[in-house]
């Protein structure tokens, strides 16, 4: 849904009202501006540390895997739902794919099985929410718990199997084969592969969300579900699709994460849903649904990781990290509340 800007009569004058209107319309300008400010500031203040390819590669790598989750979360929030299970889907996928590989399933088969399983559960949850009418907060809270429990069970099994493994090549959850790890650990041009994957997925979804008629439906549904239904949009199906997409993306993130880390762990991914929500909201996606852009969500996420990088480079005491993150999120949402109050007419 585009918001029309107040047509400013005095063309050419850079009035504050015009700037604010522009920003209100293109909310992604805020995180983008902040990122640009950050990059310039640190390039000037800490050139030897910040401007190294190494640091940039590490920063982008750190962001690349959560980017998958952020994209899924953005779609859900725009659509008026919330998905609290994504962190646990990531965790489950990471141990599941590791365990399958340890049991001897070929790498691509293991990935396919894991992702399909998560997509299936995502579909089920979608049916519960869109079809039966369960609140998405509670439904995904429940499914998250289930994924967490399943993940722990799979890890236990894989760990025991691995330590008693008669298999001569000695695979266990802590020693995954290179053929798998290389999916995430190989480098091209100094950047590890997940950065490229993320770039591709981001590009695809940014284009989809702004150009594709199907995906633009999410905005209408988020704004007013009943009106969307009346105007012929098949709300149920579209919402279920969102759950499947979110689950699939999170599952892929989990696979990449374990490939990057080199071993399965039950702590990987836990808590990612809150980070994704933070990123998406800073990027301008409204919690009430129907507003915000994919590119904004991506910039919001990138900004959060830039801040982490900044805190590390400036040697800020680690106690401050959480407080600063909370303050930034708070400022972002208060701003969001102010912007949504503003009535913009054409």
């Amino acid at each position: 849904m585009e918001q029309t800007i107040k047509k400013n009569k005095t063309k050419g004058t850079f009035s504050p009202g015009k700037v604010i209107d522009l920003v209100a319309q293109k909310r992604w300008l805020i995180p983008l501006t902040l990122i640009v400010v950050y990059v310039i500031a640190f390039a000037v203040l800490y050139p030897s540390v910040f401007l190294t390819k190494y640091n940039l590669a590490s920063l982008l790598l750190e962001f690349s895997i959560p980017a998958f989750v952020i994209i899924g979360m953005a779609i859900q929030l725009i659509n008026g739902e919330i998905d609290l299970s994504v962190g646990y889907v990531v965790m489950f996928s990471n141990v599941c794919v590791a365990c399958l590989i340890v049991l001897g399933v070929p790498v691509w088969g293991a990935i396919a099985i894991t992702v399909l399983f998560c997509a299936l559960i995502g579909w089920l949850v979608g049916v519960l929410v869109a079809g039966v009418g369960v609140n998405s907060f509670i439904a995904t809270l429940g499914s998250g718990m289930a994924f967490y429990g399943l993940g722990l069970m799979v890890f236990d099994y894989g760990y025991k199997y691995g330590t008693n493994n008669p298999n001569p090549n000695g695979l266990d959850l802590l020693h995954l084969p290179d053929s798998f790890k290389n999916i995430a650990q190989l480098q091209i041009g100094g950047f590890q592969l997940p950065v490229y994957y993320a770039l591709a997925v981001i590009a695809v979804f940014v284009v989809l969300m702004s150009k594709s008629k199907y995906f633009k439906q999410y905005y209408y549904i988020g704004m007013n579900k009943e009106a969307a239904e009346l105007s012929g949009i098949r709300v149920k199906r579209t919402k279920i699709a969102a759950f499947v997409i979110s689950a699939t993306l999170s599952s892929l993130a989990g696979v990449l994460l374990v490939a990057r880390m080199g071993s399965g762990a039950t702590t990987l991914g836990v808590g990612m849903e809150l980070k994704a929500i933070t990123a998406v909201v800073i990027g301008g996606v409204s919690f009430k649904g129907g507003r915000g852009t994919m590119i904004g969500a991506v910039f919001g996420g990138l900004f959060v990781y830039c801040v982490n990088n900044a805190l590390r480079i400036t040697n800020a005491p680690s106690n401050l990290y959480k407080v600063i993150e909370g303050l930034i999120l708070l400022c972002a949402v208060i701003l969001d509340a102010q912007f949504s109050k503003r009535k913009i007419v054409g």
Partner: protein, 326 residues
Amino acid sequence: MEKTKQRKRGSIFQFVIEKRALALLILILVFCLAFSLVFPDTFGTLGNFSGILLNMSAEGLIVVAIVPLLIVGEIDLSLGAVMVLGSILCGRLMILDDMNMWLAILISLGVSVLCGLINGIIVAKINVVSFIATLATSMIYLGIAVMLAGTGWTDFPDPLFRTLGQGKILNIQLPVIYIIVIFIIMSLLISRTRYFRQCYYIGGNAKAAELSAINTGKTKIVLYMIASGMACISGIISAMRFNSALTSIGAGVEMRAVTAAVIGGVCFTGGAGTMAGAAMGALFVACLNNALTIASISQNMQNVITGVVLILAIVLDVVLAKKKAE
């Protein structure tokens, strides 16, 4: 112990005959009876039941805190952080600054209520969605708590402090008594006072409530303050039990509280549900987990089962609501 439970719950039932609470209570009793027959020495003992109640006492206060907020259609994700903050602050004042126990508790309570005030203002006045607002404040409060924690606070100097957490009256642990008392008070407040009954109107239809001259903003702010106060008390009781203020408590406690409340019939979007129901929900989950551990079902499976129970509960709610509408 069973007799005392029923006696106390009987008095509440006179005011709140909510189908869900009653149904759950029956379910719990049947379940416990059945399990006691299968595992007479381990599940069906007095010690076990009092253990269940004791473990519930810390997080039970959070359930009591969050139910009024859920009824008005809001949520508070910062309760775990306030729990830690209250406990750490109290510990720091008593151990580092050698402060009198009651003064330290009072100050911690004051700071926590202030946190609740901030939450309430952000949600009710600045109009930020409560999920995200309290997510942000939880990060800030936890960060402050960690900064204050320093080297951790153990071994409280005041023996009364320890007794309040570890003592017993009539062979019932004190924390259990605290939570039963607080629960009764809050139940009565919500069901009998007009001020709190307004919460249901606000939760059901906020605009209509505004029009009928209910100050929704003020009510929400007060509820946030009460919730944070209770979270603080919960943290302090935890410190009393362990005789140390730890930063490792309270993680994920809000979600568990919401789970218990929803199983107990509290509608997540507001306007329905009772304290009794939520209490039954919490009790049910606690009994279930305890029974599963005794039956040697792994903790991981318990997570799965709890998740499934949650979903079943809410599906039931939705289906029943639809049937009612027909």
